[in-house]
């Protein structure tokens, strides 16, 4: 089953690198202009559940890595049982200088909160996303706080440690 998905992906798309590190995991490295096509291709082949969208900051290579994990819903019939156990991990690299990517909410609509989160914590802009508003954070950060060059200790000593204790007037 792993091999057939691998063959299908490699024969359909050029420049797709498929590696199988463990039994049920398949890592698919694609160029960034092919991500939507690969995800749509996988969705048509019963990988119809987007489990996670994540982001990795490779600061030395000056790139962000977007990770999409797709898997299939359990249907219960015998012939698809092997495939339902698989996790497809689609990875792509985007530039760190101007982090911008297309939204995948047209394919998987449950990607919306994940993309809002990545926009807030890494500063990646998703074109076509309808609601890129703040999700978790209350304060404004100059550098988005999950980037590697965000110095949390300096931020804490600059902000939270500067707030004075309440000094009572009478002892």
């Amino acid at each position: 089953m792993n091999e057939s998905i691998k063959e299908q992906l490699e024969s359909t798309f050029k420049a797709v690198v498929v590696t199988i590190p463990e039994g049920i995991r398949i890592i698919v490295n694609v160029k960034k202009d092919q991500v939507l096509a690969v995800l749509r291709f996988l969705k048509d082949r019963r990988f119809d559940h987007l489990a996670l969208v994540s982001c990795v900051d490779w600061i030395e290579e000056k790139e962000f890595e977007l990770v999409y994990i797709v898997t299939g819903y359990i249907q219960g019939d015998e012939e698809h049982r092997e495939q339902e156990r698989l996790h497809l991990i689609v990875k792509t690299r985007i530039s760190r200088q101007s982090p911008q990517f297309e939204t995948i909410t047209g394919i998987f609509s449950n990607a919306e909160p994940y993309e809002r989160e990545i926009h807030e914590l890494f500063g990646v802009k998703f074109e076509g996303h309808k609601r890129l508003t703040p999700l978790f954070l209350e304060r404004n950060y100059e550098i988005p706080p999950f980037r590697k060059d965000f110095d949390t200790r300096k931020y804490v000593s600059d902000v939270f440690d500067k707030i004075p204790f309440i000094q009572l007037e009478k002892e």
Partner: protein, 191 residues
């Protein structure tokens, strides 16, 4: 009930009423809330001490903050605290509200809760055992007896300072001040 205390009861009945009917609102922020279900149910029956959980801040007079306080949570904590009726007592549970605990270098977690609202007592530990809540309650009784649990009075008297600290973290607050603000407090320095 100790018969020797009857004279004390008759002398200051309001204190006695406050002591033995602590209606608690639990603020379930962090992991500390996991200690509360055993406390209020049959294992460590908290109602022996007159401690009973209530649904809304309007009915409560003890505020138990269990766990770390993120910036977003602080806003809710301040609003909850200001809705409670006096006399009100606040207890920080666990090491995170005291000085940040394991979140001492987090970008989104305030470190000292007593900079923003007055705290009457702390329960140290990560995690404290459920018995620690009862130790805190009995200590709070002593403080109420001696008139030292004066968090709400401190809040009223130093409201400008508390409000200034709250606005330093949360920005402009979108609710009106609880008490009148006198303008003799020096302005916020950095922001």
């Amino acid at each position: 009930m100790d018969r020797n205390q009857i004279t004390k009861w008759l002398k200051e009945p309001a204190k006695m009423a406050n002591k033995y009917s602590l209606h608690v609102i639990y603020f379930c922020t962090g992991c500390g809330i996991i200690e509360v279900p055993p406390v209020i149910t049959s294992r460590w029956d908290a109602e022996r001490f007159g401690v009973i959980p209530v649904a809304t801040p309007r009915q409560a007079n003890l505020f138990l903050i269990t766990g770390y306080v993120s910036v977003k949570t602080l806003r809710a904590i301040i609003r909850t605290y200001e809705q409670m009726y006096e006399p009100k007592y606040t207890v920080g549970f666990g090491s995170c509200p005291i000085n940040g605990g394991m979140y001492w270098d987090s970008y989104n977690t305030i470190k000292h809760l007593d900079k923003y609202i007055p705290i009457d007592g702390w329960i140290a530990g990560c995690m404290p055992r459920p018995e620690a809540i009862f130790i805190a309650v009995t200590h709070l009784w002593t403080l109420i007896d001696k008139g030292m649990a004066d968090g709400c009075i401190r809040y009223r008297e130093n409201y400008e300072l508390y409000r200034r600290n709250q606005e330093m973290v949360l920005g402009k607050l979108d609710w009106s001040p609880l008490y009148p603000i006198h303008s003799n407090v020096k302005a916020v320095e950095d922001e």
